[in-house]
């Protein structure tokens, strides 16, 4: 144990790391919304579609949730150029992660769809609710309450686990920047400790804001801790 920590060097790289953190956040948001759209689409197919359509949606979910996101990205990055499709590394990461997130979000959204009961809609109709009113007062609160905690949790998972995979194919998000800087000054340990702290702060901010939004918009008691 003869190691001297030199955080000064690592802190010099802070602006670059923060730039990486911004890209991490952007990647997380884009992936999440892309995945949410895909999830909504496939959840609708799985709930209301005909048998072959349901089967197709199920195949998509099962395949993407049972293979690593890293392999999906490798497939896009190293496999597709053989067909003459050359995407940049960031495009591959975005598409791979979005498809991956879409599969997980399909399952989450379907649980939301299933939580609305036909009897409640009938009750609302009996009380003279119009269709927009039914959506506003019966369907949305139900779905939001069931899936908001799961979705908020999944956003954090994408933000942390998901985007860091990009570093493997050379996207300069937070982990990627930490690797880049460390290969220049060989302060791997300090650099990664600083990067880890940024991840903790970033996700704490995200968790707290999501919990507050959930409380304010959907009256969901989402856990912060």
């Amino acid at each position: 144990m003869n190691y001297t920590f030199q955080f000064g060097v690592a802190l010099d790289g802070l602006p670059q790391l923060l730039k990486g953190a911004l890209l991490t956040f952007e990647l997380g948001v884009v992936t999440f919304w892309g995945g949410a759209l895909i999830g909504l689409f496939f959840a609708a197919l799985k709930t209301f579609g005909s048998r072959p359509v349901r089967w197709l949606a199920q195949a998509y979910v099962v395949f993407f949730t049972n293979t690593p996101a890293l392999i999906q990205i490798y497939f896009l990055y190293f496999g597709l150029p053989e067909f003459g499709i050359r995407w940049s590394n960031i495009t591959c990461v975005l598409i791979g992660l979005t498809l991956n997130a879409g599969a997980y979000l399909t399952e989450i959204m379907r649980a939301g769809f299933l939580s609305v009961r036909a009897t409640e809609l009938e009750a609302a109709e009996t009380l003279g609710f119009s269709l927009p009113q039914q959506i506003r007062y019966v369907i949305v609160p139900h779905i939001a309450k069931t899936i908001y905690p799961a979705i908020a949790n999944f956003f954090i998972v994408i933000l942390v686990m998901g985007t860091s995979i990009g570093a493997v194919v050379g996207v300069n998000e937070l982990t990627g920047e930490a690797i880049n800087l460390s290969t220049e000054n060989y302060r791997w340990l300090e650099m990664f400790i600083v990067a880890a702290c940024i991840y903790v702060v970033l996700t704490l901010i995200a968790s707290i804001s999501l919990a507050l939004i959930g409380r304010w918009a959907f009256r969901v008691k989402a856990k912060i801790f």
Binding site: A69, F78, M161, S164, A167, V168, T175, I193, Y199, V200
Partner: protein
């Protein structure tokens, strides 16, 4: 393109390459199993510490909570790098397998601790109060009252976590552990088509993950049934 695939096919599925991939599969499964099992045991300890009563134990509780909160918020890739360079400080020439197991252990401890805590808290308070009234020690309350009732709540998500971690271990290929993804990268570097290699690797992961997922779902249903049929008051 297609001709190339067909041309490479017999060469790719040669006995050597298949043995090579089988080793990767074995390594991936071993890493996941050892890491997550150790993680489960440590998580158990962590929850026990977190629930220590008394004001004097406040720092211990705080430490346990901080551990869980911090390590659930750091990407697994970053944890792997941290372990890699941290171990290098203490141990000379630590094996990469050890590094990967430690990284998986650290990460899975944080996640499993939340699962175990949820399970313990699902036991009705009155049961614990009754144990207290009968002068059960804390350890005895845990082993005789809380644990028998919380297994059905803990086991299914813990197993699901372990199975989903088979996929996440692909990230330790980044530090050079010879598991399935790393083997795939090597085959790709040897000049085999990326589509063929990573398609095969994806299929192998699928064959590991999917049957186990189904097994986990079956287990969950079975345990839920056993919970349900408990005699009601």
């Amino acid at each position: 393109m297609l001709e190339r695939l067909i041309r490479e096919l017999p060469r790719f599925f040669s006995p050597e390459n298949l043995a090579f991939l089988a080793q990767g599969v074995g390594m991936t499964l071993a890493l996941t199993f050892i890491g997550c099992t150790l993680g489960f045991l440590l998580a158990f300890l962590l929850v026990y510490l977190r629930q220590t009563p008394g004001w004097w134990a406040a720092p211990v509780r705080l430490l346990a909570i901080t551990y869980v909160e911090i390590f659930r918020r750091i990407p697994f890739l970053v944890i792997t790098y941290l372990v890699l360079f941290f171990i290098a400080v203490f141990v000379d020439n630590a094996s990469l397998f050890l590094i990967a197991v430690v990284a998986i252990c650290i990460y899975s401890t944080a996640y499993t601790a939340e699962i175990i805590r949820g399970g313990f808290e699902s036991v009705p308070r009155q049961q614990i109060e009754a144990a207290l009234a009968m002068n059960f020690s804390r350890w005895k309350t845990l082993t005789r009252v809380i644990m028998p009732q919380s297994w059905p709540v803990i086991i299914p998500p813990a197993v699901a976590f372990m199975i989903s971690f088979i996929k996440d271990t692909s990230l330790v290929s980044q530090v050079g552990v010879f598991e399935l993804t790393f083997r795939g990268k090597e085959l790709n570097n040897m000049g085999f088509s990326g589509i063929l290699v990573f398609g095969t690797i994806a299929l192998l992961y699928f064959l590991m993950s999917y049957p186990l997922t189904r097994l986990g779902a079956w287990l969950e249903k079975r345990l839920a049934a056993s919970r349900h049929h408990r005699p009601q008051r």
